[in-house]
Symmetry: C2
Subunit: 432 residues, 2 copies
């Protein structure tokens, strides 16, 4: 590269044809499942007002997330940000559209932006795919989201485990063990690290947070419950009584009825805004990829707080991490990058005189819905075959005078090398 202006910004990516074809297909799978479940697409802008994101019901002026937000100004010197996530814009959208009938189910797929450190798998522009319902406190809708998650990953042919817990249950356990309410969020943030630092690490953090050793041991013992989902719930009912959190979990688990929803009492999800069931999805085989590929939960207070009315806006949603799912598909070698090009067939005229008929033939193929391409460079057959190969085009037709005259074409299968003489109709059948 001779021109030094030819560089990308730091932490962003280009997607060439093979990767973009695969990513579009993945997005299409997500979209189609979201729509099967009755979630409607919406689109909010890339740029939002700084005040929206910085507000206390947004991500908060003092938060790490706000520090990593790209900030800019328009020519009127208004402060803007590039969105870092979709929940805050969704709350704004609901607030600005009081005519929306509740429940309102929506999904949004698009890029979000974070000016954070660059690591493997961490970018400054990346996709998020959010599915949320506002207006339903009934945990049956949480069960619907679990069904939706299962459908997505079964369509993607990825074996996953969906882990669930409930914030109220976690708070009740902490209360029962003697952790005062004001310390519970802080304790939950430590508990959230179970997978990373183990119970020794979590205990050390709890002690640091002025929770005494006996209490910490009691918490760890309670969270280490084993057995089936039903058995774990029963143990906690014995300990905590018939609390709402357990009822919600039980209702969700019963409605789902699937065997890959697992109640994990130490699952926490670090964010403060969750109010009920939480979910986190992992590959069944975490040796391949240990980070979660989808996560979410109930956030019943956020939207109402945002809008600032007395009306309740119970909400629940999950967010799919497109980049991580894409990594998982690549690791499991699901052939996701198999297509180098959209073109199915390449027509090469053997001489200048055959160009016009070749051009018409290609148009006829396109009219039949077959993605077709043609040589414009008057290259020799060998060069053209190389070209078709480099783009992975599966079929080639070499068009000479005889073929034009007889309307019989020699169709070459680029995978097997086999050649057959075909009419136009036969080409369409073979190639489609």
């Amino acid at each position: 590269m001779q021109n030094e202006a030819l560089q990308r910004a730091k932490g962003v990516r280009d997607f060439g044809p093979a990767e973009k074809i695969a990513r579009d297909k993945l997005i299409q799978t997500l979209r189609s499942v979201f729509e099967l479940y009755g979630y409607n697409p919406i689109e909010t802008p890339v740029m939002e007002r700084y005040e929206l994101f910085a507000s206390k019901y947004g991500i908060g002026q003092e938060s790490d997330a706000m520090r990593e937000t790209f900030k800019l100004k328009d020519q009127g010197l208004r402060d803007l940000v590039l969105r870092t996530e979709f929940t805050v814009p969704f709350a704004r959208f609901v607030g600005m559209n009081p005519q929306l009938k509740m429940p309102f189910k929506r999904y949004q797929i698009g890029k979000v932006f974070r000016d954070g450190p660059i690591k493997l798998g961490r970018y400054r522009e990346f996709y998020q795919c959010d599915v949320d319902v506002v207006g339903v406190s009934n945990p049956a809708v949480d069960a619907e989201l679990v069904k939706l998650i299962n459908t997505v990953f079964s369509k993607l042919n990825l074996e996953v485990v969906i882990k669930t817990n409930n914030r109220n249950v976690l708070n009740a356990i902490l209360s029962k063990c003697g952790v005062p309410e004001e310390s519970q969020i802080s304790a939950i943030i430590s508990i959230d690290k179970f997978d990373k630092i183990g119970d020794v690490g979590v205990k050390a953090e709890l002690l640091d947070k002025k929770i005494n050793a006996e209490t910490a041991d009691e918490i760890l013992k309670t969270l280490a419950l084993t057995g089936s989902n039903i058995e774990k719930i029963q143990s906690l009912k014995d300990l905590l009584g018939e609390i709402d959190g357990l009822k919600d979990l039980e209702k969700t688990i019963n409605l789902v009825g699937a065997d890959n929803l697992e109640f994990i009492p130490n699952l926490a999800r670090g964010l403060a805004y969750y109010t009920g069931n939480v979910f986190e999805v992992f590959l069944k085989d975490t040796s391949q990829l240990s980070s979660s590929i989808c996560a979410g939960g109930r956030f019943d207070n956020m939207i109402g707080g945002f809008i600032g009315t007395d009306e309740k806006y119970p909400a629940v949603g999950v967010s799919f991490g497109l980049d991580t799912i894409f990594d998982a598909l690549q690791i499991q070698n699901k052939g996701i990058l198999s297509k180098q090009s959209v073109a199915e067939i390449y027509v090469l005229p053997v001489s200048k005189e055959n160009f016009a008929p070749a051009f018409q033939l290609v148009e006829k193929l396109r009219a039949k819905g077959i993605a077709a391409d043609i040589d414009f460079l008057e290259r020799k057959v060998g060069k053209n075959m190389e070209y078709a190969n480099s783009y992975g085009m599966p079929w080639v037709i070499v068009l000479g005078d005889d073929e034009v005259k007889q309307e019989k074409y020699t169709l070459k299968n680029m995978t097997t090398g086999e050649q057959v003489s075909c009419s136009f109709e036969e080409i369409c059948t073979k190639v489609k």
Copy 2:
């Protein structure tokens, strides 16, 4: 709205379900045609380096476009911009990927950003859909783009006229009339305003630009040529000889063979970088919408200049204006906003006890590929019907004990009001 943080940034839009469903469908139509023609998707980032866009082969530091570019910095204080168009990033992509086999055909659909004045139909975030080929100087590929444009608008059911001209022809006419080379770009920028200011206005501008009245009249007379495409080309051949520009035009027109490609000698396209054929597409009935809905042309020098090698990168492309096309479809009342929701069927359990079977029924419908939704709020039938209606869901099932027991469902057509008793299989057939 009580919370004043709940505002959008200036000049940006939200798309609610009805509009987003329609826009996604429009994008899908464009994509499918681009792919039929063998154009591969790529994706470049929203953020690019300031130096890339400001460079002299970019949009240029001093240009109006650069003044309207959103600028920002990352935490490393690197200067960034939000892309204002796709051609500069495309040139960068080609430059950074020397392994790409030529010709390289790509399309990109996405948002671009301009910090300009807000007017009706002008936004600060809007979509562009670009289709370009690099590596072919043969105007046969220009003809392919005309075919592609025709296919797009015929699929959208919009009657259009594609206007074409050639920059070399325009330059030759100006030379023939005695305009020196260094004044030709400036004259072309005036000629570009024919549709807006008429020949009186163009003449006045030419006089302002120190072109004498006789020359100006001569130019206007030549550009006012009438007749068929072939007749106009013949007249110009008589005047200018067998120049390349006329040959390119002729080859394109002959290959296209369609009746809605019109050679308009006074079509100019304001941008300086065009080097050959140019195209501009309008509705046949311009009384409804007079601005162009797609435009482009050949820019053989840009990419090579950018990359800074001696290698040639001839290129041609067109850009579809998604917002304008969307306006055109709405004006022509093509029913584009007819769908308020993706859900096809809404199931309402008549009592709490029917919820679990209703939930299973909805799951079964989804498994059959039918987008389905269910009442989570235990609402009465009337309220539920209102809800289904407000989202335009075409079918409703009211599920009571009898229906569950007999596996016979009452399916209501929300348009006609008709109700029929159906088995599950019959529902699937009717609703799909």
